[in-house]
């Protein structure tokens, strides 16, 4: 169903290199509103590089990335209002508590009076409510990951770009994360996520892009790609 819609995000002929080494060569990648594109591949296959290019954090040597028909400009507040980005270098403010982080993001996105309620709902959803008053440096690595994901999910967004969101999470937390992402997709949010967890991928993504050495080696509906069985996972 999602394929029939006009793409919200469209990347065309993206090429990224470092010196003489080509890091990424993606002819085309599209995601419609309410769609979910999974990026899979072994470590170093180019998943994070593609996500950074889609987020406007990396200037491609060639090609374009359009969000709603306009080029992405990460430093513009308009882009930041529409797109939630979760990368592996995400960081917390050392002096704010878990709840304050999430509420700050919600308030900054103009949720105003509903910010507190929404913040509690997201913390509940991700199982982080009991650590609401904790500082980031007292959290475990998994809990810190959940806090950063809560800050991404608490705000309204047209597109979420997530780099291995299931990393460091236990099985229960992965399940809760999957539920939260399904709710976001149902609300019309598009998602592009690099992922190693086959269950999360098959339960959420409707399209998969398989990368190897920076090149697309397979692409299509999730079930078909998984059935072909040639996907390098990790």
């Amino acid at each position: 169903m999602a394929e029939r819609l006009e793409p919200l995000l469209r990347a065309t002929d993206l090429r990224v290199s470092a010196g003489d080494v080509q890091l990424l060569a993606v002819p085309s990648a599209t995601v419609p509103a309410g769609g979910c594109l999974g990026l899979v591949g072994v470590n170093g296959s180019g998943k994070s590089t593609l996500l950074k290019a889609l987020a406007g954090l990396l200037r491609p040597d060639a090609g374009s990335v359009l969000l709603g028909g306009r080029p992405v400009r990460e430093h513009e507040s308009g882009f930041r209002r529409q797109v939630g980005v979760f990368l592996d270098d995400a960081a917390c403010f050392p002096d704010l508590t878990v709840a304050e982080h999430v509420r700050m993001v919600a308030t900054a996105h103009g949720l105003g009076p509903t910010a507190a309620e929404r913040c509690e709902r997201v913390l509940d959803l991700l199982g982080l409510r009991h650590r609401a008053d904790a500082r980031p440096d007292t959290l475990s690595a998994g809990q810190r990951q959940l806090l950063l994901l809560a800050a991404v999910l608490v705000r309204p967004a047209r597109l979420l770009l997530l780099d291995e969101p299931e990393q460091r999470l236990d099985t229960g937390a992965r399940g809760r994360l999957a539920d939260a992402l399904r709710t976001a997709v149902a609300d019309g949010t598009a998602i592009v996520m690099a992922v190693h967890d086959r269950q999360l991928l098959s339960g959420l993504a409707d399209q998969v892009l398989v990368l190897d050495g920076g090149r697309v080696v397979d692409h299509g509906p999730t079930a078909e790609v998984l059935d072909r069985g040639a996907t390098p996972w990790n």
């Binding site: 200037r59 507040s77 002096d95 509420r103 993001v105 103009g110 105003g112 500082r135 440096d137 705000r155």
Partner: protein, 554 residues
């Protein structure tokens, strides 16, 4: 599986480590010519350093001499005791988060887990710590000796004696640091003790020669422990009886011997976790020092302070308007780390004291324009450091730009939002400092004008300059390669000091006039200050926006 006796053979491990040391010593051994060259280079560097700092230290010494009551028979200069007390507190604090026993990372990973007596492994590190602390103490002693000599006869012998006393003060501080490294109870004691010493030192410095019934604060402090004995010994070198200073020095030497022995005994039980923590902290601090990146050192200190805190701290209700979110975060960050506010207040108070001293000295010395310019810059250093302490939340963002990635504001807007809360706080501190100065020099009309000037124009310009320092990016070492001549470092130094120079350009003339109270009432000075402050704010804002956008661009 049970361990056999041979697997637990401690002697074998010890032999292996001994062999490792011998190998290292063989590799480190250099020909006599190389050693002589190294000594020669060290001597030349030291002579260069001394010649560079001799001028400013001499001026400072004369400045101190103008306000310091001349030492007389039987009475210690309170300033020296106050300085040695504050110095002891500083050395204790330093040893709490940076060693004293610091193992290099390879030894930490490979040698510490070996089944050998930890005291045997760590003793060379204790010696190294004592050498480092001794050097710091000797420098502190030299400074205190120079202060004690100011206003009376200068005495090189006195300064050398003061260096020895400083060394004897630093060794017990390092030894107590080792005890704190091995025991949480000692760590709490040292932390509390250093705070008390800081307060006592400040009380002594501000009280001067006011009697307390049992003597002046300096008399009480001088008899209370090694920090006071050191002051006594150094203060005595500037004049008066030699018996009491000698007794104080002997007591200090006895304390040093006891403390170092206790530290040596505690080496065997130092926990590996604490050693690892300090090794990492010292590694980062050393690298920061080597690369002149003092931000790294500040981050190490902050991490140590954060590790001790429990609970979220003071709360501020979250505003409902999205426009107030960024000022709210600044306010929360500053409230939860009151040390930054205290630091800003301390720099403001220091400026008032310096202003007062400058006024007293300038009345006698009638300085020329060059000295006036130099002193004006020195006076503006306090406000600049206060502003720097207040923009710490901005620093947190420029350290890790990813922290603001989830906020729907442009990076430039986020950067400029840091002008609001720090400017208000700096204006408040500036107003308090201006009132204190006016009361000190007894000129009420200056109060209104200075307060007005500082609140309306000076504070935002000062914060703008501090933000320039926060957002300009990593150190530009490539500027050092502009020329191979002696002046090759000038571009780098100018770049390094740019924020302080902007503040000096705005504040130095006003502060100099406030110190001399000559022309502050003239409309020209007021207009000049207002124009330069507005210009400085405009220039710094433009540079901050450009820096932030340049860094944000992929």
């Amino acid at each position: 599986m049970e361990l056999t006796d041979s697997q637990l053979d401690v002697d074998t491990a010890r032999e292996a480590v001994e062999e490792l040391r011998r190998t290292r010593a063989r590799r480190a051994a250099r020909p006599v010519g190389d050693r002589a060259q190294q000594i020669w280079i060290t001597l030349i560097s030291a002579a260069l350093l001394v010649s560079m700092v001799a001028g400013p230290v001499g001026t400072l010494s004369r400045l101190v001499g103008a306000v310091l009551p001349h030492p007389h028979e039987g009475r210690l200069p309170g300033l020296v005791v106050g300085l040695t007390t504050l110095g002891t507190a500083g050395l204790l604090r330093l040893s709490l988060w940076l060693g004293p026993i610091v193992l290099p990372a390879p030894e930490l990973s490979w040698l510490l887990p070996l089944p050998v007596d930890r005291r045997w492994l760590l003793r060379p590190r204790l010696s190294a710590a004592l050498v480092a602390a001794g050097t710091a103490g000797a420098l502190l002693g030299a400074g205190c000796g120079a202060v004690a000599a100011a206003g009376s006869r200068p005495g090189p012998v006195g300064i050398v004696l003061a260096m020895v006393v400083g060394l004897l003060l630093a060794w017990p501080a390092a030894a107590v640091g080792v005890l704190a490294e091995g025991s949480a109870r000692w760590a709490r004691l040292v932390r509390g003790g250093s705070t008390l010493l800081t307060l006592a030192g400040l009380v002594d410095l501000s009280a001067g020669q006011q009697p307390l019934g049992i003597g002046t604060p300096a008399d009480v402090l001088a008899a209370s422990g090694p920090w006071g004995w050191a002051g006594w010994a150094i203060g005595g070198t500037a004049g008066g009886s030699a018996v009491l200073p000698l007794l104080a020095a002997l007591a200090l030497a006895g304390t040093t011997a006891l403390a170092v022995t206790a530290a040596d005994r505690s080496l065997a039980t130092l926990p590996a976790g604490e050693l690892a923590l300090r090794s990492r902290a010292a590694g980062r601090a050393h690298l920061g020092l080597l690369l002149l990146d003092f931000r790294q050192i500040a981050l190490v200190a902050q991490a140590a302070a954060r590790a001790r805190r429990t609970g979220p701290g003071l709360r501020l209700p979250m505003p409902r308007s999205r426009l107030l979110v960024l000022p709210w975060r600044d306010a929360v960050a500053l409230l939860r780390r009151p040390g930054r506010l205290f630091a800003a207040a301390a720099w403001s108070a220091g400026t008032v004291a310096l202003l007062h001293a400058t006024r007293l000295w300038a009345g006698q010395a009638h300085p020329g324009p060059l000295t006036a310019a130099w002193l004006g810059c020195l006076l503006s250093l306090g406000p600049h450091l206060a502003a720097t302490a207040l923009v710490e939340p901005a620093r947190e963002e420029s350290d890790r730009p990813a922290r603001t990635a989830l906020l729907p504001f442009s990076p430039a807007r986020i950067a400029l939002s840091h002008l609001v809360v720090p400017s208000a706080l700096l204006a408040l501190l500036g107003a308090a400092a201006a009132i204190a100065t006016a009361l000190l020099i007894g000129a009420p009309d200056i109060v209104l004008r200075t307060v007005l000037l500082l609140v309306t124009a000076g504070a935002p310009a000062g914060i703008g300059a501090a933000l320039l320092g926060a957002y300009r990016g990593p150190l530009r070492y490539e500027l050092l390669a502009v020329s191979a001549d002696w002046y090759g470092a000038v571009p780098f130094v100018l770049w390094y000091c740019a924020p302080a120079l902007v503040t000096a350009a705005v504040a130095a003339p006003l502060l100099w006039h406030a110190a001399t109270a000559a022309a502050l009432t003239s409309g020209t000075t007021v207009a000049q200050f207002a124009v330069s402050a507005v210009l400085a704010l405009a220039v710094t804002v433009r540079h901050v926006i450009r820096s932030v956008n340049r860094r944000a661009a992929p």
